[in-house]
Amino acid sequence: MERFRYTKATSIAQALEIGRHAKTAQQGADVRYIAGGTTLLDLMKLDVERPVRLVDINRLGLDKVEKSADGGLRIGALVRNSDLAHDATVARDYRVLSEALLSGASGQLRNMATTGGNLLQRTRCMYFRDVAMPCNKREPGSGCSAIDGENRALAILGISSKCIATNPSDMNVALAALEATVQVRSVSGERAIPFHEFHLLPGDTPHRETVLEPGDLVTHVTLPPPPAGATSTYLKLRDRASYEFALASAAVVVSATGGRFDHVRIAMGGVGTKPWRMTDAERALTDASVSEDTIRGVAAAALADAKPQSRNAFKVELGRRCLAQALRLATGLAHA
């Protein structure tokens, strides 16, 4: 760990004023906001992140879950994962989010980790987290060790020749299916970023993980009102029963009318370099009959454009089974 300056900000304005000196956007930046610290401190101890200045934003009051005017939800960036998962409205109307949060990490980590921090959670690629290894995400241009290396847990969608790292967050998968919006502030003002635009594909710049600009501060995540009659669920598949990132996961929000799928939103985790919206599957399901045959057909066609690596070809089949079972669970064709 390197030496750094540490400031406890007491207002958003103060945080932004310090934050504006950042040379790059949040992840990997020299000036970093810190909330729960469950990713950042870990990476600082590993010398992967080496900020010279930390701005503690825990006292900015962004820790409330509120109903928004449109009937949706406005979640403060500092709401802890445990609090969000157990919030009565979230547990009732956005069950997929609650389930996703509770499937991640451990009780202790969820008590510290925040909504904004989880959005920016960095990949668990083993080469990214080891400074002795080449990694384009950590050191642009140094090469990708994972492509010909231990890539069992890594992505099969959205990869590039520079990076195949998976976005590890469970929460992000649920937020993608819920079509959340990320609210951001900087010294130049506020903006709202649709969730599917928030994370970037690695392309030639895997060190850039989101559209955030230097000094940007995530203040809230907003959710639209829950679709009428929709049910939702999150299914996470992994080797052990807890405390492991997804090998494949699926967040499903569906409603049906007259035995036919109506509103369908699906996102998958553990398979993509970003939280992966399954728009083809959504289209195929919309207006189709709610049946085992439909689900099987859609699952079999899913992930057709996946590009498996040397050790993760199994994720294609696992992902299909995950999607199918999540749909069965959400529609009552199967029970957990």
Partner: protein, 741 residues
């Protein structure tokens, strides 16, 4: 270590289910572990790890690191007093696995090998400085591949009959190869050393499962007299064998403390624990078994290989149980080593037997399938009457009772042998079973028992409690011998100033120390009675020692309670602070017991898995384990050992694997997120039963050890259950989701 006062006296001491006497210290955070030791003026050392797996260090630039805040020094081969090697001795005397002292030459033989060490006022400063040291290398080609082919001598370890001829003509055959991966011990307590010199003498606070051996090795490698080295290890957050022998960080800590004349703490990082403090090596075992159609074994051949480091010959003796577990007239076991650019492997819980029994018991399950025979019945038909390799009787063997009891508890009779045939609640069930065995015996041990004026007693032995309950069992043995409540016994362990006790290895501590403690207690009582006879004007002045007896803290004329005088009175009037005696017990290894008997513990595991093919989810749902380890002195920690081993076995079967990156040679998943051990959520219902058949060949109380046997065989029981549920026979651990899709 004293039990909490006011604890209600248990109905009996030995055999009673007593909580650990060190429990309150541990749950209240007051037990001082090695990395808790903090000394005035203490500095922190953080090693610099090689980032190549093979080659040479050509230059080290520590100039920038030395200028960093708080940094005292950066040491490497060029500027530290060299260390010596220790002489190779017999057996487990002066033992260590990685014999090369750090910085001995400029050659790097494995990724993570220590090439320098930074020392600073704080851990953070030392870490930053270690990171800033620039090391230049001339890298060479390395080998870390897990596929093994013998590159040295393969030798025959056991042989009888004509195994190849018998196999060739056997009506039913199994010929398969089984692989277990490199596994890392991963005790939650990190390895650590705090070294403090006083002139030419050094005290090493260590995470050691063998303090006496640690001293014996370190005095040689540091080049100081044996009496100048004291090793202390009061509590261990487990070790699983990884902390049995000294490793290079201990020398680094002692070396830099000597250079700087200040105490130094070095805590090994989790990452380094995958590189520099041993691991269970990759094993590859070919089993060829021949049998008659009615399930009688006619031939058993095992050819095993394990990887070892470039510089040391560590053998994972996979044939540990093969020669004696079953009756078979024709048998051959061969073993050999394959060199890899990895840190030197070391003993990990049940070394040899654990990978060996995964393979052998899996092969027997495959034979049972080929024979269409119940695997329980197959084992029953091959029960030997004696150890056929040594041609000796078993000291005590109740394997069939373990299997029968386990089968009954598990409900094995309801098994449908068809693959995927058993269903429950929408899940497919798989059932599997396996036998297990582990060696028994005694190491040499000494213990001192001291009877104090206040009627309490103290037991002192330089063995260790690695979390298994040694403090408690020594207190129990002494309490029983002296007729005192356990709360009146103070136990001192883990210090080379105490009489030398056994290494905490091989599951032998309990068996080894019982005779020594009992002997010492007898001696202390004898000394007390002698003191009583010599009291001036005392009640027992006319007595000769044999007229007197000691009963529960009092001395009296034999059989006459009306003459009882308290220990306090006796010692008070004799003006003695205490009486004490040293007790000793000899090793069984190479001793009379070893020449007359085959000494082992036995057991049987029955495992149930659930399989959900629609999401490829496999979980262990139920385990029944029955263990024959002689008399159980304290069922609480004994059960805990077996339960813990079963959970570890779930990890071995389904999760654990150290992966070496083929380009860099690094163990790349060197952390607790990527190297997966079983979590609480993976632990199913575990029923443990002990068939208590005392083995009085091992000691007068008939107790053998239980630390390791629970891990032997369990992975085979699970892998067989996986086959039963899915039809997939996994011969290369761990069983992964992709094997079952």
């Amino acid at each position: 270590m004293t039990a909490k006062p006011n604890e209600p006296a248990p109905p009996r001491v030995l055999g009673g289910a007593l909580p650990r006497i060190d429990g309150p210290l541990k749950v209240s955070g007051t037990a001082k572990y090695t990395s808790d030791v903090s000394l005035p003026g203490m500095l922190y050392a953080v090693p610099v790890r090689a980032t190549i797996a093979s080659g040479r260090v050509t230059a080290i630039d520590a100039a920038a690191a030395r200028r960093m805040p708080g940094v005292s020094a950066v040491f490497h081969r060029g500027n530290i007093t060299p260390f010596y090697r220790s002489a190779v001795a017999d057996g487990f005397a002066d033992y260590l696995d990685e014999r090369r002292p750090p910085f001995e030459d400029d050659v790097v033989r494995y990724f993570g090998q220590y090439v320098a060490v930074a020392v600073a006022r704080t851990f953070e400063q030392a870490s930053a400085a270690a990171h800033a040291v620039r090391v230049m290398y001339a890298a060479e080609k390395h080998a870390v591949d897990s596929k093994l082919a013998p590159d040295g001598k393969v030798t025959t370890r056991s042989e009888r009959g004509d195994v190849d001829a018998a196999f060739a003509s056997a009506p039913v055959k199994v010929d398969q190869t089984y692989v277990t991966p490199a596994e890392t011990h991963n005790p939650i307590e990190l390895h650590a050393t705090v070294a403090a010199w006083d002139g030419d003498s050094v005290t090493l606070y260590e995470t050691s499962q063998a303090v006496a051996n640690h001293r014996d090795v370190m005095h040689q490698m540091l080049g100081v007299p044996k009496e100048n080295v004291r090793v202390v290890s009061h509590f261990l957050g487990s070790g699983f064998g990884g902390k049995l022998w000294p490793w290079t960080h201990s020398l680094l800590a002692a070396g830099v403390a000597r250079e700087l004349k200040q105490p130094v703490k070095l805590v090994v990082s989790r990452k380094s624990m995958f590189e520099t403090v041993g691991h269970r090596p990759v094993t590859q075992q070919r089993f060829r078994i021949g049998a008659t159609p009615d399930g009688k074994l006619v031939s058993l051949r095992q050819d095993w290989l394990n990887h070892t480091s470039i510089s040391d010959d560590y053998e994972e003796d996979c044939g540990e149980s093969t020669p004696f577990l079953y009756s078979v007239p024709n048998l051959k076991v061969t073993g050999g080593l394959v060199r890899r650019n990895v840190g030197t492997p070391t003993a990990m819980r049940g070394p040899g037997a654990v990978p060996g029994l995964f393979a052998m018991e899996s092969a027997l399950d495959e034979l049972a399938v080929a024979l269409r025979m119940d695997p329980v019945e197959l084992r029953r038909r091959n029960e030997p009457q004696q150890d056929e390799s040594k041609k000796l009787p078993f000291s005590s063997r109740h394997l069939q009772e373990c299997i029968t009891t386990g089968a009954e508890q598990f409900g094995w009779a309801k098994r449908d042998a068809g693959v995927g045939a058993m269903k429950q609640g929408g899940l497919t069930l798989g059932w599997g079973m396996a036998s297990c065995a582990w060696g028994a015996g005694r190491f040499p041990a000494e213990a001192m028992v001291e009877i104090l004026r206040d009627g309490t007693a103290r037991v002192k032995s330089g063995t260790q409690d690695i979390g298994t309950g040694t403090y408690t069992v020594l207190a129990m043995v002494a309490a029983e011998a002296l007729g005192l409540p356990i709360s009146n016994i103070d136990v001192r362990l883990g210090d080379t100033t105490l009489p030398p006790g056994p290494i905490s290895g091989g599951s032998l501590v309990t068996a080894s120390v019982i005779p020594a403690v009992t002997d010492a207690a007898k001696g202390a009582v004898k000394a007390l009675l002698k003191a009583a006879t010599s009291l001036p004007n005392g009640a027992f002045a006319s007595s000769k020692g044999q007229d007197l007896e000691y009963r529960a803290g009092k001395v009296q004329r034999t059989g006459d309670a009306s003459t009882a005088v308290s220990v306090a009175d006796v010692l008070g009037r004799a003006n003695l602070p205490s009486v004490q005696a040293l007790g000793k017990s000899e090793t069984t290894f190479g001793g009379e017991e070893d020449r007359k008997y085959s000494l082992h513990s036995y057991g049987a595991h029955f495992a149930e898995v659930t399989w959900q093919p629609e999401i490829a989810r496999l979980r262990v749902s139920r385990v029944v384990t029955v263990i024959d380890a002689g008399r159980i002195l304290n069922p609480k920690p004994a059960r805990n050992q077996i339960e813990g081993a079963v959970v570890m076995g779930i990890g071995m079967a389904l999760l654990e694997e150290t992966t070496y990156d083929h380009r860099s040679g690094a163990p790349i998943n060197a952390n607790l997120a990527d190297y997966m051990v079983a979590t609480n959520a993976d632990a199913p219902r575990i029923d443990v039963t002990f068939v208590e058949r005392p083995d009085t060949v091992v000691n007068q109380m008939g107790a053998r050890g239980v630390g390791e046997i629970g891990l032997a065989g369990i992975a085979a029981a699970i892998a067989s259950a996986v086959y039963h549920a899915t039809g997939v026979r996994v011969r290369e651990l761990p069983v992964k989701i992709e094997d079952l899709l």
